[in-house]
């Protein structure tokens, strides 16, 4: 979707360069934004988990914590790159926060081998965060294998929902989701 959007924006820029101001929040790719921009996190307003609203408010992109994987795949798909980048930006700006990355698999096959495959998914998200500047000290990647299915069903739809990595947060005061 992003790939289609960018040429459209470019042509809008060319056509209207002298008169039409480009809206700042016009859906430009993340890497096009000011790299030094700092997002302020207000940790005085914490929800029941002890986390700031920026992480838990359903309207915030950071409230989206799940990355889904294709069958037998372990790389972060393009459609989740922005989501991972948003989390990376938050973690770089808020070094006191830590994340637990939990990899998951569907139910088919050996439990221990699936635990290792879930680990591979969590590691893949960790590497993406590392590349965007998040320090190792802020990340722990673990696997729940097939043991904690989000969907208890036994069909393709259920399995797709369970091939997933989740991002859990912990605040500097150790309150949070893990």
């Amino acid at each position: 979707m992003k790939k289609l959007l960018i040429p459209a924006l470019l042509s809008a820029l060319i056509v209207g360069c002298s008169t039409t101001p480009v809206p700042e929040d016009g859906g430009a790719p993340v890497e096009g934004r000011d790299p030094n921009r700092v997002t302020t996190v207000d940790v005085t307003k914490l929800d029941s988990s002890g986390l700031p609203a920026a992480l838990t408010d359903p309207k915030s992109v950071l409230s989206k914590r799940s990355i889904y994987f294709d069958l037998d795949k372990y790389d972060v798909k393009d459609e989740y790159k922005d989501l991972v980048a948003a989390h990376a930006k938050f973690l770089v700006a808020n070094k006191g926060f830590k994340v637990l990355l939990q990899g998951n698999t569907d139910e088919r096959g050996s439990r221990e081998y699936n635990l290792s495959l879930g680990q591979k998914r969590a590691e893949s998200v960790k590497r993406s965060l590392n590349l965007l500047g998040v320090k190792d000290e802020q990340i722990e990647s673990v696997s729940l294998g097939e043991e904690k299915p989000k969907n208890e069903g036994h069909d393709d739809a259920a399995w797709a929902e369970n091939r997933r990595a989740d991002i859990l947060y912990r605040a500097p005061d150790n309150r949070g989701e893990f």
Partner: protein, 426 residues
């Protein structure tokens, strides 16, 4: 599956399971299949205290029948103690090649003594006998001991009726690590958790279990002493800690850690000290199991592109590939005599128990099920206990190494999985 006549019996064994808080669970055993040449044996009604004797002789008959190696002949209410005169011709006429007779007496101190003698009716001689003193609540244990004696005398192999099994029950959102007799009776709960418990393995002395618990929101390895309930963490490194396996001398555990990235195999002393790395691959190395002599470790690796079974020295070195057929061979378990490897093989999308003769590399698939997992050899190497699925429910199945005999063990209100057969008691 096999050409033999399929006998199917159902014994429902109800018993109260747990201490406070949890409802009763009902465990049932179903047996199907039988060996090609079952030995016909009669167990007379034991004399003495009639209620106690009924438990003992009933336990012996159920054990022998369940093994699939014996045809238990109806004694037609014949009550014989260990000193009764035996009319061999009579028992031969009823088709029994062997006969056991005995008695159970209660002492004043609450203990019972179970005595028996075993006879060969063809040769007309006594094969031996023994006496077992047990607590009054241990009558079934005495029956198992007698059944083990009969089994060994008549087959030449050690019996497994007195051994125990460990497994995990998932029931109403709870995970219970349970220990039961090999026939599923007498279940006791070693650990209750709201988070998953996987991969239990018995220490070689039979006193402890190592397992993986998710109670800290991630997989962590514990060692748990069953008698006292004490447990300690063996591996809780950054990342995942899983797949424990005891060395045959009980001093070390092979474990799988992701502290350096993907899953790799390490060894650690049973107290958690002395960590050493065993494998170094770019992919996944997991499911380690020591060979019977402790010199090598079998494991699962995707280093060749698909998960296959490999073997490496217990201290590391170059790995050798062991499985070749198909694209998914996992969960290697060497037999106690080191000659056979049980594992799970995916065939046309179905996960099935298979065995490999390690000398000839011949592979035989033992089941026709679709979701077999976690094989575990009985300590005499005769049966393999697996988790499988029937009608959408997790059950345990004990399969003879020739695939002929199958026993199913299930809980009505939950899933049973992650079986581990204990070693012979010491």
């Amino acid at each position: 599956m096999n050409e033999m006549s399929r006998i199917s019996r159902r014994i429902f064994l109800a018993f109260s399971l747990l201490t406070a808080g949890l409802a009763q669970a009902q465990l049932s055993i179903e047996i199907s299949g039988a060996g090609a040449n079952r030995i016909p044996v009669a167990i007379a009604d034991f004399a003495g205290d009639s209620a106690a004797a009924r438990v003992t002789s009933g336990t012996i008959r159920a054990d022998l029948e369940r093994s699939g190696l014996f045809k238990v002949i109806d004694p037609i209410s014949a009550q014989l103690d260990e000193n009764s005169a035996i009319n061999y011709g009579d028992w031969k006429g009823r088709g029994a090649d062997a006969l056991a007779a005995g008695s159970v007496s209660r002492g004043g101190d609450g203990r019972t003594e179970s005595r028996f003698r075993l006879y060969d009716t063809q040769k007309g001689v006594a094969l031996g006998g023994a006496a077992y003193v047990t607590g009054a609540d241990q009558l079934r244990a005495a029956g198992h001991r007698i059944a083990d004696y009969i089994y060994e005398k008549l087959t030449g192999e050690k019996g497994i009726f007195s051994t125990r099994i460990a497994y995990v029950v998932k029931m109403r959102g709870q995970f219970l690590l349970q220990i039961a007799d090999a026939d599923g009776q007498g279940a006791a709960t070693a650990l209750t958790s709201t988070e998953p418990i996987i991969s239990p393995v018995w220490s070689p002395d039979g006193g402890r279990l190592a397992y993986v618990s998710f109670e800290k929101k991630k997989p962590v390895i514990y060692v748990h002493s069953l008698a006292g309930g004490q447990r300690h963490i063996v591996a809780n490194f950054k990342g995942s800690n899983s797949a424990p396996a005891w060395s045959p001398d009980g001093r070390k555990l092979a474990v799988v850690l992701s502290k350096d990235g993907n899953s790799q195999i390490y060894t650690v002393n049973a107290d958690g000290s002395g960590l050493q790395r065993v494998t170094s691959s770019a992919g996944i190395d997991t499911e380690p199991r020591y060979s019977a002599d402790g010199g090598t470790i079998y494991f699962t690796s995707d280093r060749g592109g698909s998960p296959q079974i490999y073997q490496v020295g217990a201290n590391g070195g170059d790995a050798r590939r062991v499985s070749f057929e198909g694209s998914y061979n996992v969960s290697p378990r060497p037999s106690p005599d080191g000659k056979t490897l049980a594992f799970i093989s995916r065939r046309e999308g179905r996960f099935q128990l298979a065995v490999m003769d390690l000398a000839s590399r011949q592979v035989q698939v033992l089941t026709d099920s679709h979701k077999d997992e976690s094989p575990s050899f009985a300590p005499n190497g005769r049966m393999i206990l697996i988790a499988t699925e029937v009608g959408g429910r997790g059950i345990l199945s004990a399969v003879s190494v020739d695939g002929r005999i199958k026993q199913r063990l299930s809980v009505a209100a939950g899933d049973v999985r992650e079986p581990a057969w204990a070693p012979f008691s010491q």
